[in-house]
Symmetry: C2
Subunit: 229 residues, 2 copies
DNA sequence: CAGTATCCATTTCGATACTG
DNA sequence: CAGTATCGAAATGGATACTG
């Protein structure tokens, strides 16, 4: 059986949303991904076969539309799908308050860089080309080093050296950068403690924290930590 | 694998909530069920083994506490669990707007009567004993006829005749009563069309709609129906 | 780019019956 | 009241490779 056999609206919603990965695909669509391979980068651990299957489920459920777009395919949220925005935000707000323990396996550099690259504040960045480089020395070779090339409204994420001059380079453990992204660690303390180091002209080092906009949940009020001792 | 391998707070939330039935158990706890067999009545199509398993998952996730209560067992939401209240409401609000097609298999009389019996407005009801009777002629014999016996703050739901005088009796198809419960059909039109008939003294027939408080989602604004033709 | 195809180990879960 | 025990059918979905 796939449904719950209940008329309860919560049950009817969960019939759609309780399928594994489904909510994360909706999150990606809300975040502005529209093409299959964009969606894949937001759920890098999902197989393409399964993504394809879920997209079909979401179409049947009236949440996603599949449109032609030139000779490409474009996925869009329907009005009903867009109305899941506040629901998905509520899920994330709860998560950042109550699901704070991240295992090492949760620290996916692909997703981090995908998130960072798409939420840069382009208006705050200078004209011409800017290249950000990120180095996570504690991560395996193939995902250790990343570049984001910004030019106008073009933002490219590379896991190989694109060959341009680097404007500013950031080095930290992967966990430190995730903590910063999630709003659990501020730039200044990270820099002062040495967990994060920046290289580049001082003006650019100073500007970087204004260019990276952090997670949509970074500013959610946190609960008091448990009293210790 | 059970997790998503993502630091995203939405993903971390869904790791807990995407397990089948889990959100419905949280709904029941939010609605005020605390004992195993109360919870069962709110998820009547779930096997007790699976309910037991889910309750253990929810404890591990820090959402539910299992407490002794005399020689009974009592399940309570933790503070984190209680904070899922708005999240679950958001899920239901979306559902009542966008998941409006109910199959016959969604019309579970057990759940309907369980819902109705626990949301009576006791303050609006008279002192002494009141007995409500519901009859769904289109439903199979064993779940066709229900009685709710109210006495003070005691509310008992029976699927057999408790033997008291009936104060007011309601007869309708199961779907009609579900539609009323969900706020899709108002009492007056249902009575006028004959989909619903009441028997009993006029004062009590008039009072009944004030005694039944309807679903928590009955008053959610609905979207415009699709234009037809 | 946008998916399919295939395979199979693993998990899930519904049904039913039973227990202290 | 509050669960366990057991079983088998069905589905899930991860890995990998391939396609127009």
């Amino acid at each position: 059986m796939t449904g719950y056999g209940q008329f309860c609206p919560i049950a009817k919603t969960m019939e759609v949303l309780d399928e594994r990965w489904t909510v994360l695909i909706i999150r990606e669509l809300l975040a502005g991904s529209h093409h299959f391979n964009e969606l894949r980068r937001g759920v890098p651990k999902m197989s393409p076969a399964l993504l394809s299957k879920r997209l079909r489920s979401l179409q049947r459920a009236g949440i996603v539309m599949r449109l032609g777009d030139g000779n490409r395919v474009r996925y869009e949220l329907t009005p009903g799908g867009k109305e899941l925005g506040p629901v998905v935000m509520a899920l994330g707000e709860w998560g950042i308050r109550w699901r704070t323990q991240l295992g090492d396996e949760d620290l996916d550099p692909h997703l981090l860089m995908w998130d960072v690259h798409r939420s840069l504040d382009l208006d705050a960045m200078p004209d011409g080309r800017t290249v950000l480089r990120f180095l996570f020395p504690d991560v395996e070779r193939t995902t250790r080093e990343w570049w984001i090339v910004v030019q106008g409204t073009d933002v490219d994420l590379c896991d190989f050296d694109p060959g341009h001059d680097v404007s500013v380079s950031a080095e930290s453990s992967l966990r430190t950068m995730v903590d910063i992204w999630r709003g659990e660690l501020a730039w200044q303390p990270a820099l002062r403690s040495g967990d994060l180091t920046l290289q580049g002209p001082q003006a650019v080092r100073r500007a970087l924290p204004h260019w990276l906009k952090l997670s949509a949940f970074a500013h959610v009020p946190r609960r008091e930590p448990e009293p210790v001792g």
